[in-house]
Symmetry: C2
Subunit: 199 residues, 2 copies
DNA sequence: GTCTATACGGAGATAGAC
DNA sequence: GTCTATCTCCGTATAGAC
């Protein structure tokens, strides 16, 4: 059964549209970005967009799920590490690092968080990532507790939720404060986590 | 020069509309809230809205500036307090407390933060509040530094910015995680700040 | 597969009677 | 001052030629 055209070319073009849309969503937000803008940025005609995506929301979902996950690999690595507190710090740093990588990333994530509040489908995508994040943190914290490396009064799940919130803080700051120094924020985050865990 | 009607009644009705709009903005967001919804919630006809507000954005700005400021009074009080670290903690708690007061508050603030990214007028309103917040924190931290009550390596301005970010984290968490316990988050925030400041 | 043109719906804001 | 009715613009998505 022969395909009509080259599937690779189609996928590449789809990816191109997706990337252009991501930049627009990050700077202008989801609702204020029009499909016409996306088409203009991608260099295609308005109608042609729908040969690649079924709807505007489908583009947004593709953008959100497009970021590949190396988090589980990172988690395995840190669960096997020697120093349990350092392992938590490394994992937290890994989670926050994307926010510092490119200015558009935290903006896009923040936008997704708000949209998730209104759309179950988007909430699902983010919820899964968040659950994995917290589960990983909980496991690492439990290990640190067992090793007696952190304050024994800390509850692993509650602390994992809080550390996740602190990571969110870095995203929020870098998304909203253009003048913030990403490296400084990451170092402040590390000092914060280290001090919070006690030990 | 006689007024046409009772100004007090007009102000009360305006306030009523504003409150109804605030609830809608918090739950559905600014862009997804329609003027028709606001009118329905407030029990007025669609056209009548514009006798109280010039535009939809004017309503949003009124909502944002409507929250009265007792922050400066709180700051004066804490600048005169005996224990400088406790003063910082009290001030931080005061800044974060509104997030825990009512679920709609952090949602509304988050919505405003995103809109600020796209509208200079909204950015101004939030920027002024933010600047005051950081200035207050910087003053309190300088005082704690002078008293030798916190880690001498800390830079007051940078630390103030970070504490402000941490407060933002509580807002973000309570806005996005319906299951979060506000009291727990506030206590985690206090532990975090105390540990971060060292001393 | 890509284009141009347009249908369709909805949202903000206005007009004018009462 | 408040209402009903409506205007106008704009954004998504579709139709149909090439």
């Amino acid at each position: 059964m022969a395909r009509t055209v080259d599937p690779a070319r189609h996928a590449a073009r789809r990816r191109h549209i997706q990337d252009c849309a991501a930049a627009l969503f990050a700077t202008h937000g989801y609702e204020r970005t029009t499909t016409a803008q996306i088409c203009r940025a991608a260099g295609i005609s308005p109608g042609n967009l729908y040969h690649y995506f079924a709807s505007k929301k489908a583009i947004f979902l593709a953008v959100l799920t497009g970021d590949e996950d190396d988090t589980s690999a990172m988690l395995e690595q840190q669960l096997a590490a020697d120093a349990p507190v350092e392992a938590v710090l490394e994992f937290v740093t890994h989670l926050a690092a994307p926010a510092a990588a490119h200015p558009a990333v935290p903006q896009l994530v923040l936008e997704a968080m708000l949209q998730a509040h209104r759309d179950p489908e988007i909430a699902d995508v983010l919820g899964q990532a968040d659950a994995a994040e917290r589960a990983g943190l909980t496991a690492l914290l439990q290990r640190a507790l067992d090793a007696g490396a952190i304050d024994t009064e800390l509850d692993p799940a509650e602390t994992a939720a809080w550390l996740s919130t602190l990571v969110g803080a870095v995203f929020l700051d870098l998304a909203l404060q253009p003048g913030s120094d990403p490296a400084l924020r990451l170092s402040q985050l590390r000092r914060t986590v280290r001090a919070y865990l006690g030990g």
